[in-house]
C-alpha cells in the first residue's frame, strides 16, 4: 500500500469528522476571501474611482462581522482538527498494539523496546500531522482558486507575477523530496537507537553497577545522542530551509506587485482598490505556498512513518494498521468478549502437521514438525539449546507465522492460530515471563474479573500460597517494574498462576521450572497435573518433568527426532540418551 492509500483509508475511517473538518476549512477560506472585495470597494469609494451604493460605515461593519465570524469558526475548526488528529494517532497506535499483542514474534522482536516506542510516538504523530495538513490544505486551496479568479479579472499579468514564484517553490520542493525522506528515516533511526539504548540500560542497571561500567555506559549513551543530534539537525536544517524558501516567496511577490502596479496606477488602468486587493491577498498566497510545501514535505515524511509502522507487521497485514477501531475513550473499559463455547469445540486433540518456521536471521527454526496432544495427557518437548523448542511452541500459538504446515483442533484446521489459541481454549507461560509494575493480583488476572475465576485455586496450584502469606499486602502487593521485588522463582510461579487462573483446556508451558528448587518444582507439577481434565504440552529440561510425561517429543535441529515414553526413548533414541546422561553429574 502506498502513502495515499494509507491516508485515504484513515480519512474514511472517520468520514463525518473528516468531512466536518474539510467543511469548516472551506467556510474559513470563504471568510478569508470576502474582505478582499470589500476593502477594494471601500478604497475605490474613498478615492471616488467607483461607486457602489453602500456607504463606508456599512463596509466597515461588514468587515467587523466577518472578522467575528472567522474567529468563532476558526476556534471551532482548531478543536475539531485537534480531535481528528488525536483520534487518527490513537487509532494507529491501538491497531499497532493489537497486532503486536497478537503476533509478538514479528518485527518488534527484532529491536529494542525503546526503539519500538519511538515508532509508536513519533511515527504515529507524523501521520496524524499529515492528515491535519491535508484538511487545512483544502481551505487554502479553496482560497487560492477564489483569489486567482478575482485577481485574474483585474490584471492577468500581475496575477502571474504573484503566483509565479509559488510554482518555482513547488518545483524546488519536489527536487528536495528524496533527500528529505532519507534524512528523516536516518534521524528517526538514530532516535530509535537512543530510546532503545535507554531501555537496555534500565534493564541492565545491576549488571552495569556490578561491573563498575557506569561511566562507559554514559559515554556510549553520549555518543548515540551526539549521532542523533547531528542527524536531527541535518533533518531540521533541510526542513526549515525549505520552509524559508516558501516564506521568502511572499516578499518576492510583494516586490513584483509594487513594480508592476506602479506603471498601471499611473496609466489609470489600476485603481487604489485593486492594489489593496492584491496586497491583501498576497500574504495568503504566501501561506498557500508554505502549506503546499509543508504538505509535500509531510507527505514524504508520513510515507517514511507508514513504512516504519508497517515494518512491525506482516506485509499483507499493513492495511490493518489503518482499519477503523473502537478506542473506548469514555466510560468503563469494555468487557472481554466471551468466546463461544460450543460443545463440538470441547478440546479432544491438538495437532500440528508438517509445521515449519525458520527465523530470518539465524536460519534456525522448526522444519516439518508433526505432533499430537490428546485430552488429559502430559506431553513434554525436549532438546538441546537451539533445537527449536520455544520456536515450536510460539508457532503453535500463532505468535510466529508458519511457513508451511497446519494446526488442527479436534481434527479441524485452525486458520488463525493467534486468535484461536487463547483462553479458555489455550493458556501459555513463556520462558521469560513478562510481569508488569502493578499488583500481584492484577498481574495474575490480567483483566479477568476476579469474581468469575478461582484465584485462590490457581495460586495454590502454582505453589505461590506460602510466599503470598509473607507478602505484606498479599495479592495487593506491588511487585515493581518487571516484577523486580519477587525472586526468580516467584516470578515464574506468578506466571504459572496467570496461566492456571484462565482454566484453559490446553496448557502450553515453556521451561516453567528453571528457577525453582526441586521440591517446589515437584509440587508445581503435581498441582498442575492434578487439575481435572488438564492437558499440558511443556518444554522442560528437567528430569522431574520427563518422568511425569505420558509422551516425550525429542527435537533435534528443528526436526522431531523421536516420540515415545521416557523408557522407550532411553533405549532407542541416541539424542535422548545424550540429553539424559549430560545431566548425570548430579550426584
Amino acid at each position: 500500500m502506498n502513502t495515499w492509500n494509507f491516508t485515504w483509508r484513515l480519512l474514511r475511517g472517520r468520514p463525518w469528522l473528516a468531512l466536518l473538518n474539510v467543511a469548516l476549512a472551506t467556510v474559513i477560506a470563504v471568510l478569508d476571501l470576502l474582505p478582499g472585495p470589500i476593502l477594494r470597494a471601500f478604497f475605490d469609494r474613498l478615492t471616488g474611482q467607483a461607486g457602489i451604493g453602500v456607504g463606508p460605515r456599512a463596509l466597515i461593519g461588514a468587515l467587523l462581522a466577518i472578522a467575528l465570524a472567522r474567529t468563532i469558526i476558526k476556534t471551532t475548526a482548531v478543536l475539531i482538527s485537534e480531535l481528528h488528529d488525536f483520534l487518527i494517532g490513537a487509532t494507529l497506535r491501538r491497531n499497532l498494539l493489537a497486532r503486536l499483542l497478537a503476533r509478538p514474534g514479528l518485527g518488534a522482536a527484532n529491536e529494542a523496546t525503546g526503539a519500538t516506542l519511538s515508532r509508536f510516538r513519533d511515527d504515529a504523530a507524523q501521520v496524524a500531522n499529515l492528515l491535519a495538513l491535508l484538511c487545512y490544505g483544502v481551505s487554502v486551496a479553496v482560497f487560492a482558486i477564489g483569489a486567482l479568479w478575482l485577481l485574474l479579472r483585474i490584471d492577468y499579468l500581475l496575477t502571474i507575477a504573484v503566483f509565479g514564484p509559488l510554482i518555482a517553490t513547488i518545483v524546488i520542493m519536489r527536487r528536495a523530496m528524496g533527500r528529505l525522506a532519507r534524512y528523516r528515516a536516518e534521524s528517526r533511526q538514530a532516535t530509535g537507537r537512543v530510546t532503545g539504548s535507554l531501555g537496555e540500560m534500565f534493564a541492565a542497571v545491576q549488571a552495569v553497577q556490578v561491573a563498575g561500567a557506569e561511566s562507559h555506559l554514559i559515554a556510549h549513551f553520549r555518543r548515540l545522542n551526539e549521532e542523533r543530534r547531528r542527524l536531527l539537525l541535518r533533518d531540521a536544517v533541510l526542513t526549515r530551509g525549505l520552509g524559508a524558501v516558501s516564506a521568502g516567496t511572499v516578499g518576492l511577490g510583494t516586490g513584483l506587485i509594487l513594480l508592476f502596479a506602479a506603471g498601471a496606477l499611473r496609466a489609470g488602468t489600476f485603481t487604489v482598490g485593486d492594489f489593496t486587493l492584491f496586497a491583501y491577498y498576497l500574504p495568503f498566497v504566501g501561506e498557500f505556498t508554505r502549506v503546499v510545501g509543508d504538505t509535500l514535505t509531510s507527505y514524504r515524511q508520513a510515507g517514511v512513518a507508514f513504512a516504519r509502522l508497517a515494518a512491525l507487521l506482516d506485509g499483507a497485514e499493513s492495511r490493518l494498521l489503518v482499519a477503523p477501531a473502537p478506542l473506548s475513550l469514555r466510560g468503563p473499559l469494555p468487557a472481554l468478549p466471551p468466546l463461544p463455547q460450543r460443545s463440538r469445540d470441547r478440546f479432544m486433540a491438538f495437532e500440528a502437521i508438517n509445521l515449519t518456521y525458520r527465523h530470518q536471521s539465524a536460519g534456525r527454526g522448526i522444519v516439518g514438525v508433526d505432533l499430537r496432544v490428546e485430552r488429559g495427557t502430559f506431553v513434554v518437548i525436549v532438546g538441546r539449546v537451539g533445537a527449536g523448542k520455544t520456536t515450536l511452541l510460539r508457532t503453535l500459538l500463532g505468535q510466529l507465522p508458519a511457513e508451511a504446515g497446519e494446526i488442527r483442533w479436534n481434527g479441524q484446521p485452525v486458520a488463525d492460530p493467534s486468535s484461536w489459541c487463547v483462553s479458555p481454549r489455550v493458556a501459555y507461560t513463556p520462558q521469560v515471563p513478562n510481569l508488569f509494575s502493578d499488583t500481584l493480583r492484577d498481574n495474575i488476572l490480567l483483566g479477568l474479573p476476579e469474581e468469575g475465576v478461582d484465584l485462590p485455586g490457581a495460586i495454590r496450584a502454582a505453589v505461590l500460597e506460602r510466599d503470598l502469606a509473607t507478602f505484606p499486602a498479599g495479592l495487593g502487593t506491588l511487585i515493581g517494574p518487571r516484577g523486580v521485588r519477587l525472586s526468580g522463582g516467584q516470578v515464574q510461579r506468578a506466571a504459572a498462576a496467570r496461566m492456571l487462573v484462565r482454566e484453559a483446556e490446553l496448557l502450553l508451558v515453556d521451561d516453567l521450572s528453571s528457577a525453582l528448587d526441586l521440591e517446589t518444582e515437584r509440587q508445581l507439577w503435581v498441582g498442575l497435573l492434578a487439575r481435572p481434565d488438564t492437558t499440558v504440552l511443556a518444554v522442560s529440561q528437567r528430569r522431574a518433568a520427563w518422568r511425569h510425561a505420558d509422551r516425550i517429543i525429542v527435537l533435534n535441529k528443528g526436526r522431531v527426532e523421536a516420540t515415545g515414553t521416557l523408557d522407550d526413548l532411553l533405549v532407542r533414541c541416541e539424542e535422548m540418551q545424550q540429553l539424559w546422561s549430560a545431566g548425570e553429574g548430579t550426584t
Binding site: E111, A112, E200, A207, A211, H220, S514, D517, G583, G585
Partner: protein, 249 residues
C-alpha cells in the same frame, strides 16, 4: 547480619558465616529463602540492618563502592545484553580494553571453538533483545565479562539453571576455569554444579539451618543436604530402572 526490604519482615535473620580465600561455598535453599538478597548485600546494593560484612577483615562499608565491586564478579541467570558488538557487550563499551585481552579471556575460559564460529568475531553485532544468541551463549558472554575483570570473589546466582544439560556441560568447563584460584559463592537449585564446592550453607526463611563441609554433610544421612541429594538422585532415575540403558540404576 540481618536485613529487611520493608523494615518489618526479615529477609535475612542473623546470618553468620566465614569464607576463606580460594574456597567455594554454596548457598542452597528454597525459592525466596534469601539467597539472592545475601549476594546483593555483598555488593552493597543494600546494607544490612544489623551485623557487618567484612572482606579481608575490613567492613565493606568502609571501602568505596566502586573498589568493592571491582573485586567481585557476579553472574546471574538473566544476562543483560546490548544491541551492539560482542566487543562492546564484553567490555560494557569501555574502549580502553584491547582486543587481545578479550581474546585471551575467551581462550582462558576454553571458549575458542565457540568464538571461532561467530560470523564476524568481536565485531559480530547482537540483535536487540538478544534474539541472535541462545541462553547458553549469553551465559558464556557473562562468564567472559567476569573473567576480564579478574575479580577475587565470584558469585554465581543460578547461573546455569535455564540451560539444557548438554550446554550446561559446555559451560561447566568455563566455570571451573573461572573459579580456579578464586573465592566463590554459588547459589544453586540444581545440585549438579556443586562438585566444585567446599562448604554447604542451607538457608530457610532467612536463617541458616545447616552449615558444614560438603563431604561431611554428604556422609551424614540425616542432613538436609543429604536428603536434597537423595531427592535429586531419585528424580533422575527413569520410571523403570531396568530399562536404563547406561545401567545407572
Amino acid at each position: 547480619m540481618s536485613f529487611s526490604y520493608d523494615g518489618t519482615d526479615l529477609t535475612l535473620d542473623g546470618v553468620s558465616f566465614t569464607l576463606a580465600p580460594g574456597r567455594t561455598i554454596s548457598l542452597l535453599g528454597r525459592t525466596g529463602s534469601g539467597k539472592t538478597t545475601l549476594a546483593r548485600l555483598l555488593l552493597r546494593f543494600h546494607d544490612p540492618m544489623g551485623g557487618t560484612i567484612r572482606l579481608d577483615g575490613v567492613d565493606i562499608r568502609a571501602a568505596r563502592i566502586a573498589e568493592l565491586r571491582a573485586r567481585i564478579g557476579l553472574v546471574t541467570q538473566e544476562v543483560q545484553l546490548f544491541a551492539a558488538s560482542i566487543r562492546d557487550n564484553l567490555t560494557f563499551f569501555d574502549p580502553a580494553v584491547p582486543d587481545h585481552a578479550l581474546l585471551t579471556a575467551i581462550d582462558g575460559l576454553g571458549l575458542g571453538a565457540w568464538f571461532d564460529a561467530l560470523p564476524a568475531g568481536l565485531d559480530t553485532i547482537l540483535a536487540p533483545g538478544a534474539t541472535s544468541l541462545s541462553a547458553g551463549e549469553a551465559q558464556l558472554l557473562a562468564l567472559v565479562r567476569v573473567f576480564l575483570t579478574d575479580p577475587g570473589l565470584v558469585i554465581l546466582d543460578e547461573a546455569s539453571s535455564r540451560l539444557d544439560p548438554a550446554t550446561e556441560r559446555l559451560i561447566a568447563g568455563a566455570l571451573d576455569r573461572l573459579l580456579a584460584g578464586r573465592t566463590g559463592i554459588i547459589i544453586a537449585h540444581r545440585l549438579a554444579t556443586l562438585r566444585r564446592v567446599d562448604t554447604i550453607l542451607v538457608l530457610e526463611g532467612g536463617r541458616i539451618v545447616e552449615q558444614g563441609p560438603r563431604e561431611a554433610l554428604m556422609r551424614d544421612h540425616g542432613s538436609r543436604f543429604a536428603r536434597l541429594l537423595a531427592a535429586d538422585f531419585a528424580s533422575n532415575l527413569p520410571t523403570d530402572p531396568s530399562t536404563d540403558p547406561a545401567g545407572r540404576a
